[in-house]
């Protein structure tokens, strides 16, 4: 579903030029709506979970305890325990690193590819632009799932493979958008003006085109991270996820599904972890986007 993200913003919209002057960080926080503050705090929490899982874990995440299997959530086990007595909360915390790495890694890869293709096409124009456009169409027609399958068949289902599968699969969407932005910005009045003023091409590119064309990408990045996590985790359902006992969120969900009638927490808790994270980055991303666009912040 990641493909969908790139047209949340209309590509033909001509971005307004960046307004001069930076606000101080304190001002930025003061003006924030409550929802964005909460989302920001949650993202910070997730980052802590990824960076230093031990700070938050209540139990060793891989330690099995055959005397305490399938316990419902309680004060001792916040998210309950799984079928071999492992503490689910600690496992969700442990899995954050892999899951975020997949989300951030895939999005970075995707953006890098998209910039290469999109900027080349947007700058060069002509035959090269048309060739890249056709190539992107072919990539679009190719199901993402097959790409993932191929990579996982040849290499193994490691986080790196998943990053590649998701990153390459989602790149065409971003690339098409980058190209669209470029074309829009290239023809915008302020670029024409700069050209009329005799600024060098490089300077125009660096000072005017790039910043303005990249701005809509901010929202895309935040949306993309959440979407990449969802898409990578869904591969676990096809038996293509990261091998156990990795508590990558998708793997947790897949394992939990077998017990869902008896132990709902195994399915619900990791699912909420994914949704809350994706939601938080989306909320923050949209806010940043609106700020950059100089519009009032409506979610």
């Amino acid at each position: 579903m990641t493909l969908a993200t790139d047209i949340l913003r209309r590509p033909e919209a001509v971005p307004r030029p960046r307004r001069p002057g930076m606000r101080r960080p304190a001002d930025l926080v003061r003006g924030l709506p409550g929802g964005v503050l909460v989302a920001g705090a949650l993202i910070a929490l997730y980052l802590v979970m990824a960076a230093a899982p031990a700070l938050l874990q209540t139990h060793p995440p891989f330690r099995t305890d055959l005397a305490a299997t399938l316990r419902p959530p309680s004060l001792d086990h916040l998210f309950g325990t799984d079928q071999s007595g492992r503490d689910l909360f600690s496992r969700v915390v442990e899995g954050t690193r892999d899951s975020l790495a997949i989300g951030v890694g895939a999005t970075s890869l995707s953006l890098t590819l998209a910039l290469l293709l999109g900027v080349t096409a947007g700058l060069a124009g002509g035959a090269l632009d048309r060739a890249i456009g056709r190539f992107l169409e072919v990539m679009f027609a190719f199901p993402n799932l097959f790409l993932a399958l191929l990579l996982i068949t040849v290499f193994e289902a490691t986080p790196v493979t998943l990053i590649a599968a998701v990153g390459i699969g989602t790149a065409p969407g971003y690339a098409r958008m980058v190209r669209g932005q470029f074309l829009a910005v290239k023809g915008a009045g302020y670029v024409e003006a700069a050209r009329a003023l005799g600024h060098s091409r490089l300077r125009i590119l660096r000072r005017h085109i790039l910043p303005n064309a990249m701005r809509p990408l901010v929202a895309m990045i935040t949306l993309g991270v959440g979407q990449s996590i969802v898409w990578a985790s869904s591969l676990a359902f096809l038996g293509l996820g990261v091998a156990p006992p990795s508590p990558e969120w998708g793997a947790l969900l897949d394992a939990g599904r077998n017990y869902v009638t008896r132990a709902w927490w195994l399915e619900v808790m990791p699912g909420l972890a994914i949704i809350v994270f994706a939601l938080s980055v989306t909320v923050v991303g949209r806010h940043v986007q609106d700020r950059l666009d100089g519009r009032a912040g409506t979610p």
Binding site: Q83, A243, P244, R257, T261
Partner: protein
């Protein structure tokens, strides 16, 4: 919220496919049975069994046991095997064996026809044998060939209902092997139509006819109204009581068990461990522990670290295998400590069941002795800078169910405490059967099972590499000449005590050298609605049998 409504069970009259009128007509035509008997039969007639199975095989014929379960419904074998191991008539009414145990002469049941009308006579069986043992990849039946390819000299039909099989050398398990699903007899007319027909619409002579295979969904089996070749193990002769079976593939545990709960299935295979308690109170549950080899860890003895018997023995002792099995299967599937044979196999040696009990101290000592004394920063043992890594390859979601994978994870966790780094590597089903990623240097351990009725499986599991070809079924790569000699001797010994002694010695050698570490057997469990009666599980490899099943009215 809407309150949960009591299970809406479809009334018997509404079940699709029930034809009381037809049942009566059939009973009339049959007319041969005594009046009372006919009435009882008529009581049982009708209905379609909606059966939810776990795994879908790549083909409906031979190969994996998951195809064998279906083959048991549409095909007949030459002989049948009772639960206690006796060989009894099926397509063969009786047979004689020459004194030198080299010539088998079978007399066949008369008037038996395949579903396509072809006569099932000795000539038809000869055609089957020729194909099984053929060199043509389109015809060969690799399972059959593995067992008897090197034993059978000739198969001939001296008379229309007389079949003679000559062996090159005595092979005691011969009749037992012939009772196994992959020796099911198929119509030569249909076989001639080529591999696709054989894969998708095999034609046998069994109580049910393969009508359609809707891939990914189900196999539709229709009652064979002319069935007259039931084995001596069946509970009744003649055609099946029900009109057919819809053999559904419901891979997801929640869906499969849920469909039994909601009445969308009349019977299902493999109850998820967490649902056992409830299933037992609400449904009829039958279980059979399959013979052959259990799911056991085959340790790769041909490469480090498991080329050292001390490391293998250490690995066998690092985890509470029995507790792990009990926890994962909620005690419903037994622990199979003797990894050489499944505990339901007659030759299974009980003394070995408790070998290598959980003993981390002993494991630590053995590893120290073996030179794995270094420690990496994460606590994994090292020797000469190499980590004590065990790549454990398994067919996740197919050969090993999710409950089974849990056993592996518990084992992985406990092995870490002693300094083993166990890396779990799931292999998709198709890759597993294709042998992808299973080369001799690709793994240190492989858990797998192979069904059989008795110790004849040892021939498959432990045959040494021949002519440079690796025997992939011997994943332990354990091939001391003495072991193969014992197995070959046992297979040609007709004195029961002497044969058993050799099989037992073979097991002692296998387990003593820790070439395999036993975990749990394959157990076939069928849960059915209370009104569905007489579903039973047959020998030799625990196939569910629906020929005798009927709906209580």
């Amino acid at each position: 919220m809407i309150p949960p409504n009591p299970a809406p069970r479809p009334s018997p009259a509404r079940r699709p496919g029930r034809h009381p009128g037809l049942a009566a007509a059939v009973a009339l035509i049959l007319g041969l049975a005594a009046a009372a008997g006919a009435a009882a039969q008529e009581d049982k007639r009708g209905g379609i069994i909606r059966y939810g199975h776990l795994q879908e095989p790549p083909c409906l014929y031979a190969g994996w046991v998951q195809a064998g379960y279906i083959q048991r419904q549409y095909a007949d074998n030459l002989v049948a095997r009772t639960q206690d191991g006796r060989i009894v008539p099926w397509l063969a009414t009786d047979w004689t064996v020459s004194d030198d145990n080299l010539t088998y002469t079978f007399r066949l049941k008369p008037e038996v026809r395949f579903h396509d009308g072809t006569a099932l006579d000795a000539a038809a069986i000869v055609v089957n044998f020729e194909r099984w043992l053929s060199d043509d990849p389109d015809k060969v039946n690799r399972n059959a060939k593995l067992y008897v390819g090197d034993v059978v000299r000739s198969v001939t039909a001296p008379g229309p209902l007389t079949l003679r099989i000559e062996l090159a050398r005595p092979y005691q398990p011969f009749l037992t092997v012939l009772s196994t699903y992959f020796f099911g007899i198929l119509s030569p007319t249909a076989l001639a139509r080529g591999p696709q027909e054989l894969c998708e619409r095999p034609v046998g002579s069994g109580p049910f006819i393969v009508e359609a295979w809707n891939r990914g969904r189900n196999v539709v089996l229709k009652r064979n109204p002319d069935y007259n070749s039931a084995p001596a193990t069946a509970r009744h002769a003649g055609p099946a009581y029900v009109d057919g079976i819809v053999w559904k593939f419901l891979k997801d545990n929640t869906v499969r068990y849920g469909s039994l709960l909601s009445g969308e299935s009349d019977a299902i295979y493999d109850i998820p461990a967490v649902d056992w308690d409830e299933a037992r109170t609400r449904f009829r549950v039958v279980q059979d522990v399959t013979g052959g080899t259990p799911t056991r860890l085959q340790l790769n003895t041909a490469r480090p670290p498991f080329d050292d018997v001390r490391v293998r023995r250490a690995f066998a002792q690092v985890s509470e295998r029995q507790k792990a099995v009990e926890a994962a299967f909620h005690g419903e599937i037994p622990f199979n400590g003797n990894g050489a044979l499944s505990l339901s196999t007659p030759e299974h040696l009980k003394d070995l069941a408790q070998s290598y009990p959980y003993d981390p101290d002993a494991a630590n000592r053995l590893l120290d002795e073996a030179g794995w004394t270094g420690r990496a920063r994460d606590g994994i043992r090292t020797r000469d800078g190499r980590r004590l890594t065990v790549r454990l390859l398994y067919a996740g979601g197919s050969l090993i169910t999710s409950d089974g994978i849990l056993v592996l994870q518990i084992l992985q966790d406990q092995a870490r405490a002693v300094g083993f780094d166990v890396v779990l590597k799931p292999i998709p089903q198709a890759d597993w059967f294709a042998g992808k990623g299973r080369g001799p240097d690709d793994y240190e351990a492989q858990p797998a099972y192979w069904v059989a009725s008795s110790a004849e499986i040892l021939k498959i599991s432990w045959r040494p590499d021949q002519g440079g070809a690796v025997n992939a079924n011997n994943a332990s790569r354990f091939q001391p000449p003495v072991l193969w000699r014992l197995i070959e001797e046992a297979d040609r010994t007709f004195d029961d005590a002497a044969r058993l002694a050799r099989y037992e010695e073979a097991q002692r050698l296998i387990v003593g050298e820790a070439a395999v570490v036993g975990l749990f057997p394959l157990a076939v469990t069928i849960a059915s609605q209370p009104k569905l009666k007489d579903v039973w599980i047959s020998s030799p490899v625990s196939e569910p049998v629906f020929h005798d099943a009927y709906f209580e009215k």
